[in-house]
Symmetry: D2
Subunit: 354 residues, 4 copies
């Protein structure tokens, strides 16, 4: 297969770095260029980036000169795909313009997730929503596909296999890591040894996006699922990995072993296709009474290329008609860059663009 | 008033230190002796204790020679009251024996909380349960009064004013600080930069004790309240203060402003009596969207002697028939030593013993 | 004594908050107004400030409307003294202008510390340097007095009593807390569970300011002391308190007990005058092998008003002609706001202005 | 080459886990058995170990039944090599007995490091000291080879290439991570958000072992080098990686560029032999002003099998005849298990035993 030419916008932030890490030696994609803000532009990526996602900067990427994020510059690279780790404001400006010029944008930015024709894609859950990308392509030439908010990615993955138990209501309290705020997003004095029980817009996103992801594709676009989600989102002094305490009320009388089995057995289209970034097992059920834990489980997932792409679940208990469990998702991998790349792999495998 | 002669057992641990701090210059109580394990016995308290609760060791206490915790030694001090910060095993051995010898024991230990004639006292909530102490006194000469588990103290205080809204069900996820495990109870490598989503026996205690505290005193003892409590208890890398995300389902249609008003207006018997360790306002409602926070609010409570005795509540929101809120309680003060001392103040004021 | 009318510029940052806390109920000073950046101006201080220095916002201060920091606004308050917690850029603009208008500025800003006629005042060490304030007053009407950089304050205090041992060279490695970077100065992802072995300009300041503080007042201004200081400044994930490992090479053969005695016995002019914010004992020598520690000792100092004003020293050991010790200083109190206020108290007591 | 049969004693602690991780798929060594304390014995390693060193437990190791650490049990496995991560007390009992029975012990335990005929081996520095193993083998049948204390490993590696500048004196302050105390060695309440400026026996070990490692092999054993080392050892709330601020006084006038070049160019025998766990470059010099940092650099070293085996050095500066620098070493890899394994690789390559 001829490799697909890709660029990464917003490449110096934490999510951008995860893109670069995951694209190193990628079997489908060829990293052609890296964009970042004006401050970094013109310097080799290896010097411009405060690399903070583990290991060394991939050598090929380190040599690339960082480019600015103007439409002209991006188009000058003739990308098939633009991966976007841009903040919402910057994304709003350039992503639709790239789509108009035929580029396929896989974006971690939140600004287009509510568009009727833009899928919020989690390839194991709603691969069919990629149909919306075809619709966009017909209309614009290119398309925008988004991944979900980082917390939502873990929650939605776990809810999907539970659909058969007919759940009615979800209550979730999150323990979100500081990397979720971006490298510079949170002052250390505010969070050191502390918990902040609020994250701007996060609860709304979890509630809205969960329903869209689990919604049904109709001729009019996505019809959201109807279950209510009640979220309380909190920041904790952890570097990587969002943990969540979830309570799900079922209509039928499923027990904890049924739930554990359904979660552990879950496989999606990416597993069937053997996509490079797809974890062999998307949901790992931990039998220990005190797992999952961010320090031990954030990077769950095999093979090597899929590290951080599996969601870990533990403490599955039934109580008074509700099922309680704890889940953990790597927020900048499964919840951001990894989800985007897996989406692009799916689109490539399904020949959405050729 | 002639001062009441008190001793503290288990005085060198974190809860024991809070006892010593709170008893310094206390208007009712005169600290006669401090007990600890054999390792510390025979040394001045000021040298034996790894003081870690802020400020300097009170001077009078620092001079006291630490005594061992045998029945003979404790009785040799002729205490009116023995405050106990003993671990459950040690408490099990000595507390009933002291009661038999006429001592009033106010205990933070968990081992007797389930006894039918032992109250789990939170003076603002169930002052009437002190009647059980009279029953014990008639039978044994002395009595044992316990305070609740640390997390329960915050939850029960907040539930009390909500009784009028006829709540039916409580779901709670806790963010508990490391001091709750005792000074040596948790290995730093396990919790540094991490969350541990399980605390041994804690969920059972929260569920059981909440119902006893809010239960009704009958001729047969306490009849527990009947609402179900579903708890997920997690440890976070915070030094002091247990935060909780709580969801309460009401039968009637109370709104967030009703709840906020009921909480802020709540006062109990200790406030009416002006007990020394009673906070002017037991529950402080924070209007900010990102409060309470352990680093900022753990020590809430006025006047000075009642610092750490007020519970802070924020983020009161209604969603689909359930009320969500976040609360914070100082686990070693309101959740332990402070609760015991306030209970003893109440007993003294009500002349349970004379 | 008629109270002296003071304002605080930069009042909403961490150092500004310490000023407000320390000025509450101050026996010499009357807090007339609080200034902050345009964002906060116009709102009551109690709403504008993200209070983070413990306890509640002092009530009188909470009611004050925050004012902007223009020269006109400050002068409209007719202050006798302006305390400044401004960043260097803002300080550069307004402090000299206030001086020209007769205001006495006590400043935590670094920009004027190198001026020949501006003292870097640590009242216990170099009270005589206040003479420079008289010189300025004669020339400008008002004056600027600075306190030292936060790390320097601890180091210089400990070096002063060691002068008699004729020290020749100082090597210091710091463990500096995140509050030293200001509330928003350090991203949590950068420092959580990490050490950053560099702080911009800090080593240069420690070296330069130590020598000026311990320098001699001559007719030409301060002649700096001549000992070399070699500093390595590191940031650690601690909220408050700068710890330092110090090695001092002596010309004479002083032993560890001599050093301990000299440090513990040290008293300065503020102690002799009984200034309100002066700690009874400026340097506390800890006998324990594992002290001082930020979590336990940052707030050392008595009486209550002087909490955080004492420097703690431990681990005094001699090795091969060099004396090693560990010291701890509260960076935003003794190293910033407290030092400024103590300086102003000294100036008031010595009737530098009347 | 026929693989060498090895066992790991003390396999469930943090250092033991690093042994297991590093031995997975090792080209020289075949992991035959894992020993641990009685509590774990009899269970599969995968269930007995609280795995905490990243990734998943190697599958082959996970299946092994944990054995007890009695002499009989260890000998029943007929090991060529016993790797030891035992605590000193347990090591004292069994290591010499194994040596008497012909086993080659490579030990992380501290108890034999002072023996005249036991080398403290850092293969890049003192490969010639392995001669002592031959001496032991002639006498006992087997031998004991130790690696150094974790902090010493980083310091000694950096001092080696500086010998040519004729250094006279070393002053070092450490920032040691909590994993250095073992998984259960440090209470979280003691270190969370804190610095503890003392580690039991650590300073003495750094001083003594540095001189032995850099000492000269003579007919009477090792003659220690004579430079004085003055160490202040501190614990910081970091999970992995010991950082050190080092000041070295040179007799000759080497400049910072000379030092940087000597460090970066350094290679040892393991690099020449291409040993599997040898990092291509033992010392990595970082040009950035704020590196190395534990969170970013602890795992330095290539290729994959040598991750954590390179020491990072930065901030090389000259000041007044002394050279200052900051170094970082992964304490449980280069400072413990990795050093042992590299030593065994060297012994195997040099056919110390055949």
């Amino acid at each position: 297969m001829k490799k697909i030419r890709v660029v990464v916008m917003g490449s110096t932030g934490l999510v951008g770095q995860q893109f670069v890490r995951l694209l190193d030696g990628h079997p489908y994609f060829d990293l052609a260029a890296l964009m970042a803000s004006g401050r970094s532009a013109g310097r080799p990526y290896g010097q411009a980036v405060p690399w903070a996602v583990g290991g060394d900067i991939p050598e090929q990427a380190a040599q690339l000169e960082v480019l600015d994020t103007s439409l002209e510059t991006v188009m000058s690279q003739a990308p098939d795909i633009a991966f976007s780790a841009l903040p919402a404001g910057a994304a709003e400006g350039i992503e639709p313009a790239l789509r108009e010029r035929g580029v396929r944008v896989f974006s971690n930015a939140g600004c287009r997730r509510q568009d009727a024709d833009v899928p919020v894609l989690i390839p194991e859950i709603n691969p069919g929503h990629l149909e919306l990308a075809r619709w966009q392509q017909a209309r614009y030439g290119g398309f925008i596909v988004t991944n979900s908010n980082c917390s939502t990615s873990g929650l939605a993955l776990v809810l999907k296999p539970l659909e058969k138990f007919d759940f009615r209501e979800v209550t979730v309290t999150t323990f979100q890591s500081i990397s979720g705020a971006g490298r510079r997003g949170l002052a250390s004095f505010d969070i050191a040894g502390n918990v902040i029980p609020w994250i701007k817009n996060e609860e709304e996103k979890m509630e809205r996006e969960s329903r869209k992801i689990l919604g049904e594709l109709t001729a009019d676009g996505i019809r959201p699922a109807s279950f209510p989600v009640s979220a309380t989102c909190c920041r904790v002094p952890v570097r990587e990995g969002h943990l969540m305490s979830v309570s799900v009320r079922f209509a039928n009388g499923a027990g904890a072993p049924d739930v554990a089995e359904a979660l552990a057995a879950f496989r999606g289209v990416p597993q069937g296709l053997g996509l490079p970034t797809a974890p062999e097992q998307p949901i790992i059920v931990r039998p220990e009474e005190d797992r999952p834990q961010p320090a031990l489980d954030a990077w769950a997932g095999r093979p090597e290329r899929a590290r951080g792409m599996a969601v870990s679940v533990g403490r599955i208990r039934e109580k008074g008609g509700a099922m309680s469990l704890v889940l953990l998702v790597h927020n900048t991998v499964r919840g951001a860059a990894g989800a985007c790349i897996l989406g692009a792999e799916l689109a490539a495998a399904e020949k959405i663009f050729s």
